[in-house]
Symmetry: C2
Subunit: 260 residues, 2 copies
Amino acid sequence: MSAFDRATAVRRRASTSTYDVDLDGGWSIGGRPNGGYLLAVIARAATDAAQREHPLAVSGHFLRPPVGGPAEVRTEVVKAGRTVATVRATLWQDERACLDVLVTAGQLPDADADHVGTPMPAMPAPDECRSRGDTPFRVELLDHVDVRLDPATVPTPDNAGAPVVRGWMALGDGSVADALALLLAVDVAPPTVFRLGLVGWAPTVELSALLRAVPAPGWLAFEAEASLVAGGWFDENATVWDSSGRVVAQARQLALVGRP
Amino acid sequence: MSAFDRATAVRRRASTSTYDVDLDGGWSIGGRPNGGYLLAVIARAATDAAQREHPLAVSGHFLRPPVGGPAEVRTEVVKAGRTVATVRATLWQDERACLDVLVTAGQLPDADADHVGTPMPAMPAPDECRSRGDTPFRVELLDHVDVRLDPATVPTPDNAGAPVVRGWMALGDGSVADALALLLAVDVAPPTVFRLGLVGWAPTVELSALLRAVPAPGWLAFEAEASLVAGGWFDENATVWDSSGRVVAQARQLALVGRP
């Protein structure tokens, strides 16, 4: 069992649609569990509730940041169809809803692609990239997830530029990233607006992800980019490719520009 | 009152959080109300329930296609915060849930942008574009919405190519498209996979949209593009710009490739 499997484990309460979970504070950024990690926990409960193999579309609206420790995921299967099932899943902690999610679950295709339109960007190999840990922020998550940033896009003060961050991700214990781990990958880049000098805690308000294939073993590549930063809001569009070069996940989030 | 306002009107039942609506079959494609139109109806109810001015993030998971006629939107304000409120809103018809939606609502910014990263693509002016109606499909929606397609991307059999469709949208009665009408704009392109020869009814399974600004009066420009078509599934990423060239909406949907 990988550290990721342990940290995202869910236990269904007998005769209910509620799952007990232990949020692992080690998968946090600045003391708050990472959004992608939380979505993975919730999607695991939702796919179990729906008795489907994979989440296909995951839409999370962030209400309040939870902390590490016990929590629960309350699920409701809204529709169980032939191809997909849709589940509403809400993360609760201390009787407060923290994250409300809709999950459409089913079976990821393993067919050859009919069309591939977004090639993996050219960037240096993982060993030639910078660890995300080389930043002024304490990122507990990096004890468990190996994140390497393309030096050209590292969001440090001496590297201002367009709000794009590219890099690689792997699980820190060497286990293979599965479909659920793609939810980590779509939210693992530092906020792209750091490259505009807008550095600070940048809370995610909404994140919607599509998972497209079970990734091939090896490093995952990611690219995150903001299209519009205005009035304190920014979007971040993330694409993830597996080691075969195939798009395996896509996501867009709405977030607030942080205050230093 | 514009035809769009009338077609998306909602009436709150006294002392409840349920809204009665009349789905207008005129805003359909092949007899099924358009997904963007349905999201506009539901988002109108959700923003009213939350007492906020605009939807900011709208995540719709499509369960069953409704038909034109009476329906209801059941809402639940999940959290009302200082900056935003989050609402779950579900469209019901004949005691069946048709579309489950999470809406985060608040106030769209009207500030100047700090960063604009996705310029409007170059394309011919609306008068030099082709009406979407010039296709073999009966699209009732086009009686109410004026959709012009860049001739280079019209999805006709003699124009196969990459799955990209660009064009312009305006409300048919000449009224100004407001923020809610952006939900129409993100879903108004014909399926991009038509350009790959994959022509047929292509149902949306999930569509998540971000609204970014109240659009300036005038034509809205849109571009939709699929990144990956595999195993019968495709994504479609849509960007909408207003007449000032500003990005005003972004969306991604997951859909099934249609069968002829």
